[in-house]
């Protein structure tokens, strides 16, 4: 599903040039669950942003679902993201002025989905993450764990092929963190590939493969025993 070759990302300011990613080669198959680990500043988030089409690589090729997307314009990337990629962030990034229901509905609005279908999908997804009873609440009225469940619901409501999670449990206590990991696993088992950046070895255990990054390089790749459903 994803094939990246010799990915490179260089950040330039007036005085400094920083290489965030250097010659990264990566393949991810449909339905796979991959964790990316490494110390701060090793390029994990940069990799995630490029995989998620939020940013373009400085060099190398990136093939996503058969499309060569490395040179896509911002407009094309936005178009491609829509419905194909879901995001879960450490800080949830829910929109404060929208209710739980409305936050989850947002991706479907941008897909131009008909109203009745939207209602069905949002409610189904809220049931899946077990937050239906809070659908008319605003984010500030929820606990961190509940907020992240809403964020997961928003990421999966459009049934994307790929979910990208950037330290999804970073702001949560262990109980809530575990719940979120369970959810992600369920989503993965339902067919979505997941790439998750994490500092937590425990969370990484949920995945099929762990990639270790250091100074912009992939240093090790470990396959875990758990096999993914659609292999």
């Amino acid at each position: 599903m994803i094939k990246a070759d010799h990915l490179k990302k260089v950040y330039r300011t007036d005085e400094v040039e920083t290489t965030a990613l250097n010659n990264v080669n990566l393949e991810i198959e449909a339905g796979e669950f991959v964790s990316v680990m490494g110390p701060s500043g090793c390029g994990k988030s940069t990799l995630l942003n490029i995989l998620g089409l939020l940013d373009n690589p400085s060099g190398g090729t990136y093939n996503f679902l058969g499309h060569d997307v490395a040179g896509y314009s911002e407009r094309q990337r936005a178009q491609f993201r829509k419905g194909n990629i879901g995001f879960v962030f450490q800080s949830f990034n829910l929109i404060d002025e929208l209710t739980v229901y409305e936050n989850v509905e947002l991706p479907l609005l941008y897909l131009g989905m008909a109203s009745a279908e939207r209602v069905r999908r949002v409610e189904e997804t809220l049931e899946r993450v077990n937050i239906m009873h809070r659908k008319d609440h605003f984010p500030q009225q929820l606990s961190g764990g509940q907020q992240q469940r809403v964020a997961v619901a928003r990421a999966v409501v459009a049934s994307p092929k790929l979910i990208l999670a950037d330290e999804p449990t970073g702001n949560l206590d262990s109980t809530n963190g575990e719940e979120v990991m369970q959810l992600l696993t369920e989503m993965n088992e339902a067919g979505a590939a997941i790439v998750m950046v994490t500092h937590s070895p425990a969370d990484a255990e949920y995945s099929h493969r762990i990639i270790h990054l250091f100074d912009g390089h992939i240093v090790t790749e470990n396959f875990l025993e758990r096999k993914y459903a659609h292999a």
Binding site: N49, G52, L54, D55, E74, R75, A78, Q79, R81, K82, G83, F87, F89, S91, N93, L94, I95, D96, E97, L98, E102, E105, L106, P107, L109, Y110, L111, R154
Partner: protein
């Protein structure tokens, strides 16, 4: 999707109430100002458009040329109208108006002085959309002594009775029969009509020969051209026409004129250069000035919106980032934010309409108009709301939609480095203060000029002078009346004249001995006590004196300008011989100059003092001017009234104070000045409202910085200084730009006065300090609040 946009917009507006209030209040006040000005300007431009043929009616006006000088006159000779119809087939109709001035109108025991009394051709009903409620427009003004009255006058004199066929006596001698009742004219008519007498009556006022003449210019002539006819084609034929008809007569008097046409719809606003005009007048300069002010105020309000919205962008950054991550295109975000600003502006517009409704009664009293919020304005208002919303929302929409999702979702964007203002925001603030400063300087210059005009030494003492018209038997018993008045200790002196400062200024001619060429000048006929009563000073020679009986028939006094224009020094002038053609007689008054009076301002200070000749010429006086002592004015006025009743029984007592009358000449400027000051103030208030919001934001952004500074020992004063420094710089930059702009604009306005102030540095300094002080106060509040805050809290907050 739009429901989603609307929901989020409304929830944001509610959540940041303070910010919303500042934004909406600024916009509402700005829009209300614009709306008021728009109503005013629209009304000014609507004059005379109610006539069905407004686009085809022209007023005939003249440029009178004599001795290389030219005056433009609204009035034409009586022969002009009929000659135009005879000569040019494209002149379909012509109508002449002759103003009877303030006229005594009587019916039984009712008697009132009325204005807007005209003699007019019967063709007025063919040209103008004057609608008769009673009577036949074809015949109403045909017979001599036929009179059409306005609806209100009909009610005033006849109540519920049928006015047709009834009679009214005008000026105590002419009995007119009512032949028509005319519907009241809209306020937007440059001619106001209370009474219209038939032109056939004119022959009793002037001889047939005089009505055929080309010199007597006191008739307002209007013509009707065919649909689509270019008036320039007709104007091109005028020189030959004038050469044939008028020149033979006027050239013997040493002048000629150039005739041209003025569109009816331009008469009200564009007659500033025309003299001898009876019509109501607006001033197109003020229409332009206020339109510009309205635009400026709107810009300031829009800039506020832009500044505050972009300053507060951090609050929307996450939303923008998330929407983009989900797949929103930039265009969609731009539409969303433009929609929000349009929504806000619409809200402000509703509020503005409310403000205008509240302000209209006072505004109407002030401007003397009857403006109202017409429901038909709604479409226009929605259009304006849309336009302003798009204009004000454009920059914020582009700014917000440009956020890069990676950065905002990490919380890095929307945070200007160091908490200062971005270059664009600085530019907007500077522009706001440039506009505010220009408006303040403008208002100050207007007031300075008006003060100058009202306190300028006029060459006579305008205080404590009461002027009464000559009525009844006063004329025949002038000396007795004067003697009677002087017996009262409250009265200092009294004089009779035809010609008063700020009042009647008769235009006339004199001749040099033996020459046929006339020399146009103003000629005042006075009595012996004129200079004394007005406290005018002599520059050479002597005053009229009863000790020289010949003064009555052979003495003239010139003003300094007349002496200079005639090529004489002050001393040379005394003793020179000049001739004056006596009115309506075949006689020439031949006399010598006995004195030169210092120039005095008998016209408004818009006009330079022109040449003036004074002479004694009994029994053609119009007014008695009485100088009274300042004490017990009421008692003195009672004496005046008593004397009036004795000598003019049956005439309502009339008088006016000279100083008040002179002040009225500058009423338009005074009102314009006050309005400009008001709008300047509002502009500054709106700009400060924005600055207040912006400085609150800036202080908030710098909470951590301020906290750290205080922890390492900064004093509160130094923090206040730190926060005010940027605003000071911006206001000063604005000042530098505003000074030349205001200087040129206000010099242009002042050029309209023959006597004017110079724009002093004091005014600029005042405006600069005022703007700076207001800006300081605005920012100071936030700065002091931030400086006095608890640093520990500030640091914890971050």
């Amino acid at each position: 999707m739009w429901t989603n946009y609307l929901k989020i917009a409304l929830r944001n507006l509610r959540r940041y109430r303070g910010h919303t209030a500042i934004n909406v209040a600024g916009l509402a006040v700005g829009l209300a100002c614009c709306l008021l000005i728009f109503l005013f300007v629209q009304d000014e431009q609507r004059y005379d458009r109610f006539h069905d043929d407004a686009g085809r009616i022209y007023r005939v006006v003249n440029e009178r040329l004599a001795d290389g000088s030219a005056t433009h006159r609204a009035a034409t000779p009586p022969a002009m109208g009929p000659a135009l119809v005879r000569e040019f087939p494209e002149v379909l109709q012509a109508a002449r108006f002759f103003n009877l001035g303030k006229t005594l109108v009587e019916r039984d025991d009712q008697q009132f002085f009325e204005r807007n009394v005209w003699i007019a051709d019967s063709t007025v009903f063919d040209l103008f959309s004057f609608r008769l409620l009673q009577g036949d427009p074809q015949t109403a003004l045909v017979a001599p002594y036929a009179l059409v009255v306005s609806q209100s006058m009909a009610r005033k004199y006849f109540g519920e009775a049928d006015p047709l066929g009834q009679t009214l006596v005008l000026s105590g001698r002419n009995t007119f029969t009512i032949t028509g009742v005319m519907e009241e004219l809209p306020a937007q008519s440059h001619i106001a009509v209370n009474f219209l007498g038939s032109f056939a009556t004119m022959k009793d006022f002037a001889s047939e020969a005089r009505l055929q003449n080309w010199i007597w210019q006191q008739f307002y002539t209007y013509i009707l051209l065919p649909e689509g006819r270019d008036p320039a084609q007709l104007e091109a034929k005028f020189p030959a026409f004038i050469a044939r008809y008028a020149d033979p007569e006027t050239s013997t008097r040493g002048f000629n004129y150039r005739t041209y046409l003025q569109p009816l719809t331009a008469v009200y606003l564009r007659s500033a250069n025309l003299r001898f005009d009876f019509g109501m007048r607006g001033n197109v300069t003020y229409v332009y000035a206020f339109s510009i002010i309205a635009l400026f105020i709107l810009l300031i309000a829009c800039f506020n919106f832009m500044n505050l919205t972009t300053a507060r962008s951090t609050q929307r950054a996450r939303e923008v980032g998330m929407r983009k991550v989900i797949g929103a295109q930039r265009g969609q975000l731009v539409r969303q934010f433009l929609g929000e600003s349009v929504l806000l502006v619409m809200g402000a517009l509703v509020l503005a309409a409310g403000l205008v409704a509240l302000a209209l009664p006072a505004f109407n009293t002030f401007t003397g108009k009857a403006l109202s919020l017409d429901p038909s304005l709604v479409v226009g208002l929605v259009g304006v709301g849309l336009m302003v919303g798009l204009l004000a929302g454009s920059y914020p929409a582009l700014f917000l939609s440009a956020f890069r999702p990676i950065e905002v979702l990490k919380g890095a964007a929307g945070r200007p480095g160091g908490g200062g203002l971005s270059a664009v925001r600085k530019g907007l603030v500077v522009t706001q203060f440039v506009i505010s400063t220009v408006l303040i300087i403008g208002a100050a210059v207007v007031f300075r000029q008006l003060d100058y005009v009202q306190t300028k030494t006029l060459g006579f003492d305008k205080e404590q002078v009461v002027i009464l018209p000559i009525r009844g038997d006063i004329d025949d018993n002038l000396e007795t009346v004067k003697a009677e008045l002087l017996r009262h200790p409250g009265i200092v002196s009294a004089t009779a004249s035809w010609g008063t400062p700020g009042g009647i200024v008769p235009g006339d001619d004199i001749r040099m001995p033996g020459s046929d060429n006339t020399w146009p000048t103003n000629v005042f006929t006075v009595d012996h006590d004129y200079l004394y009563t007005y406290r005018m000073e002599l520059a050479a020679g002597r005053d009229f004196s009863r000790a020289f009986p010949a003064d009555t028939s052979t003495a003239f006094i010139l003003n300094e300008t007349a002496a200079r224009d005639l090529g004489w020094s002050l001393d040379e002038a005394v003793g020179q011989e000049i001739w004056w053609d006596e009115w309506s007689r075949d006689a020439v008054k031949k006399g010598r100059v006995i004195g030169v009076v210092k120039d005095f301002h008998y016209n408004s200070l818009h006009q330079a003092v022109g040449p003036l000749v004074m002479h004694l010429y009994p029994s053609v006086f119009g007014h008695v001017s009485v100088r009274i002592r300042p004490e017990e004015t009421a008692a003195t006025l009672a004496v005046l009234e008593q004397t009036w009743t004795t000598w003019a029984p049956g005439w309502p007592f009339e008088y006016y104070f000279l100083d008040e009358d002179l002040a009225a000449m500058y009423e338009a400027e005074e009102k314009a000045g006050q309005l400009a000051a008001l709008f300047a103030l509002l502009a500054v208030v709106i700009a400060c409202l924005g600055l207040f919001g912006l400085s609150a934001f800036s202080a908030e952004q710098r909470t951590k910085e301020i906290g750290i500074r205080k922890v390492v020992g900064a004093s509160a004063a130094s923090i206040v200084l730190l926060l005010s420094k940027e605003v000071t710089r911006l206001v000063l930059a604005a000042f530098v730009v505003a000074v030349p702009v205001a200087y040129f604009a206000m010099n242009w306005w002042l050029d309209d006065f023959a006597y004017r102030v110079e724009i002093s540095w004091g005014i600029f300094l005042m405006a600069g300090s005022l703007t700076l002080a207001i800006a300081f106060l605005t920012v100071g509040y936030q700065a002091v609040k931030a400086a006095l805050g608890d640093p520990v809290k500030a640091l914890r907050y971050e």
